[in-house]
């Protein structure tokens, strides 16, 4: 049942990739409404799929890599819809929609069966670790999209070109402000995730810190975000701030994908912890 909803969500994501793509070329306001509508429909299907899955197989069934990517994609889309209500962020949508599509596609293609799912961890710290970490990841993903859009707009302003795309882009300040807000929230949640993760590690592995790849990499990423948030809270702005947001997201994605796949360790690869 849940895979049926997921399939519907996927189809709608694909459609929204196309409508957001079309918005780059045509400035018609109707397209913007259609894009938002399709995206909202996809979000509803996706959320239904995830809820059904968690309901029938337990919330742990959302933690393997593919499933968690799908969960994060769903949160990303929700966040994007929330900020799109007030600001025209169609150009950001052209980035968000393919990310949502690809992340949920992985969940659809490599759906983990109930037997393969994570077992063994039943600590109260598990949801306290995973929930903020995932929401944090989702927030950083949106921040990444905003930064990319900032860099595109920045290029356009520098080159003094005036394309249709340029006209559709929000102001640098809007992008920067949203970006800062997202980075701050993402950082707060990421921090909570790290702390609860350490407590979880203490409970299950016996120590707070065990030089485990995901732990090391995540802490490195956390440090970079910490520097970024600190600099930004002092008023630091601009192109390099956007570049560092992109770089930090790259590290984050690295810790999430590469490490999980290449150095499975204790943390949990594609198959169980």
């Amino acid at each position: 049942m849940s895979s049926l909803f997921l399939a519907a969500a996927l189809a709608l994501y694909l459609l929204s990739v196309m409508t957001y793509g079309a918005q780059l070329i045509s400035p018609r306001p109707a397209l913007r409404r259609i894009g938002l509508g399709v995206m909202a429909g996809a979000f509803a299907m996706h959320a239904a799929a995830l809820t059904l899955r968690a309901g029938s197989l337990g919330y742990e069934s959302l933690f393997p890599l593919q499933e968690s990517l799908s969960l994060i994609a769903c949160i990303v889309v929700g966040l994007f819809l929330a900020i799109s209500v007030r600001t025209d962020l169609s150009v950001v949508g052209t980035l968000v929609s393919p990310i949502a599509f690809l992340f949920s596609l992985s969940a659809y293609l490599f759906e983990t069966r109930a037997g393969e799912q994570a077992t063994g961890l039943h600590s109260v710290w598990l949801p306290a670790h995973v929930a903020p970490a995932f929401i944090g990841y989702a927030i950083f993903t949106v921040a990444f999209c905003l930064s990319i859009t900032y860099l595109v707009q920045e290029r356009q302003l520098k080159r003094r070109r005036r394309s249709d795309l340029f006209r559709r882009l929000p102001s640098l300040e809007t992008l920067d402000r949203l970006n800062y807000r997202f980075i701050s929230w993402g950082f707060a949640l990421f921090t909570i995730g790290l702390i609860t993760g350490s407590l979880l590690a203490k409970e299950t592995w016996g120590s707070l810190w065990s030089w485990e790849p995901v732990q090391v990499w995540s802490t490195g990423t956390w440090l970079l975000y910490a520097v970024l948030v600190q600099a930004r809270s002092l008023g630091w702005r601009g192109r390099r701030a956007a570049l560092i947001t992109v770089l930090a997201f790259g590290l984050l994605l690295g810790s999430f994908l590469t490490v999980s796949l290449l150095f499975p360790g204790k943390h949990g690869g594609p198959v169980g912890p």
Partner: protein, 426 residues
């Protein structure tokens, strides 16, 4: 000799900003340049128009080709000018084309942003300066006055002005791509040009929080500041205020850069890389173009702004077509006047007019008297002819003697006194 109108110069159509700024004639140098213009051997009258977008001389001469050579040399005379490059970018107009060009400029059809209203004011001022220096004469008086009325006609009869987006409003439009709102922003105005004043007005209209004004002459800054309810600061202390400004507009007549790369580097550091928008409204440029290579600075000069200002282009172009038709019409009228400004056609027209009056009056008299015989009728005719000829003799002799020489004023006066052109116009 009949005078011809020629126009020589560079504009944003023919030359990039690098060339235009080499030729720009500053306000202070204008009077001297106008006087110098009159010393050219083949230039009898001349008006110099020097704005951000064009440096052009409109002149009247009895020898158009020679005058064009004179003017090209005149414009490229300064030491620092790359002569070959300048000559390559010059546009030359003669006769009817020159008149048409002037009318198009006045009507803002030749502007970077078609329909923007600033050019007419700039043209009027150029003309007044030429009148004050004595370099505008009969032909250019009429030509420029005509251009002003053409501009007015274009303005009222076409929709071109209503859709006009001036360079300065285009600049303010761009701020919306950088900043969210202007309510917490500060703008710094360096120099007090027309363009920057307009930009300031636009910024105020959009609710900019504060405006700082500076000028080399502090009094002028104070004056401007009073007008815009802003803060004047001394030019020497400009570096202290740079980091405060989110938008910096330059429009000084300075040679050399007011804002250099190291200055901007420093201000960015102080601003922690918060973006800053630099608008260079002046030619020669006030801000070093290399500033744009720095991060988080967006520098636009007048050429860059033109691209931004090109919205609503199609609609404006349709209106521009209407305007062009008006101009063709007016050029016709002016050229008819100018062609007539020669001895022979003036004498012919004078004779024709007199003869027409004589015949009409003679016929009326003969009809009133009635019953005259052939001899008496001829006597009346002969008398009327004699009066007309005697009356016209002196003017015609004098016209032949003086009108051909140096000043078309004589011919223009004769035509005016006898109402020759009014007759034709109606």
């Amino acid at each position: 000799m009949r005078r011809e109108i020629v126009a020589v110069g560079v504009s944003h159509h023919s030359a990039p900003i690098e060339v235009r700024e080499q030729l720009a004639i500053t306000d202070g140098a204008l009077d001297a340049s106008l006087r110098e213009l009159l010393t050219l051997p083949h230039v009898e009258e001349g008006v110099i128009l020097s704005t951000c977008n064009r440096v052009e001389v409109t002149a009247a001469s009895s020898r158009g080709d020679a005058a064009i050579d004179d003017l090209v040399r005149f414009l490229a005379r300064a030491e620092h000018v790359d002569r070959e490059q300048v000559v390559r970018h010059m546009s030359l107009f003669r006769g009817r084309d020159a008149v048409r060009h002037l009318f198009r400029v006045a009507a803002s059809l030749d502007s970077m942003v078609v329909g923007e209203p600033q050019i007419l004011g700039q043209l009027k001022e150029s003309y007044e300066r030429a009148v004050a220096s004595g370099s505008a004469g009969t032909v250019l008086h009429r030509c420029f006055h005509k251009s002003f009325s053409v501009a007015k006609r274009v303005r009222t009869e076409t929709g071109i002005a209503s859709r006009a987006v001036s360079i300065s409003s285009a600049a303010v439009e761009l701020t919306c791509k950088i900043f969210d709102s202007l309510e917490d922003k500060t703008a710094l105005l360096i120099g007090a040009g027309t363009m920057s004043e307009l930009a300031a007005r636009h910024l105020l209209a959009r609710g900019i929080r504060s405006l700082i004004v500076t000028n080399r002459t502090y009094d002028r800054a104070v004056e401007l500041a009073r007008e815009f309810r802003s803060t004047p600061v001394p030019f020497a202390e400009i570096e202290r205020y740079l980091p405060m400004a989110d938008i910096i507009i330059g429009s000084t007549a300075a040679d050399g850069f007011v804002l250099t790369v190291p200055m901007v580097e420093q201000l960015l550091q102080q601003r922690l890389n918060r973006p800053v928008f630099l608008i260079d409204m002046s030619v020669p440029r006030n801000f070093d173009p290399r500033i744009n290579d720095l991060d988080d600075v967006y520098l636009y000069d007048v050429d860059d702004l033109s691209g931004v200002a090109e919205s609503n282009r199609d609609e404006r172009e349709r209106e521009a077509e209407k305007a062009e038709a008006i101009i063709v019409d007016e050029v016709e009228g002016f050229c008819r006047w100018l062609d007539g400004l020669d001895v022979v056609p003036t004498i012919v027209a004078l004779r024709e007019k007199a003869e027409a009056i004589r015949r009409r009056e003679a016929e009326r008299t003969l009809a009133a008297l009635g019953g005259l015989d052939e001899r008496e009728r001829r006597a009346v005719e002969a008398m009327s002819t004699a009066i007309v000829n005697k009356l016209l003799h002196e003017p015609i002799v004098r016209l032949k003697r003086n009108g051909g020489k140096d000043d078309p004023l004589y011919i223009a006066a004769a035509r005016g006194l006898f109402g020759i052109d009014e007759e034709k116009d109606s």
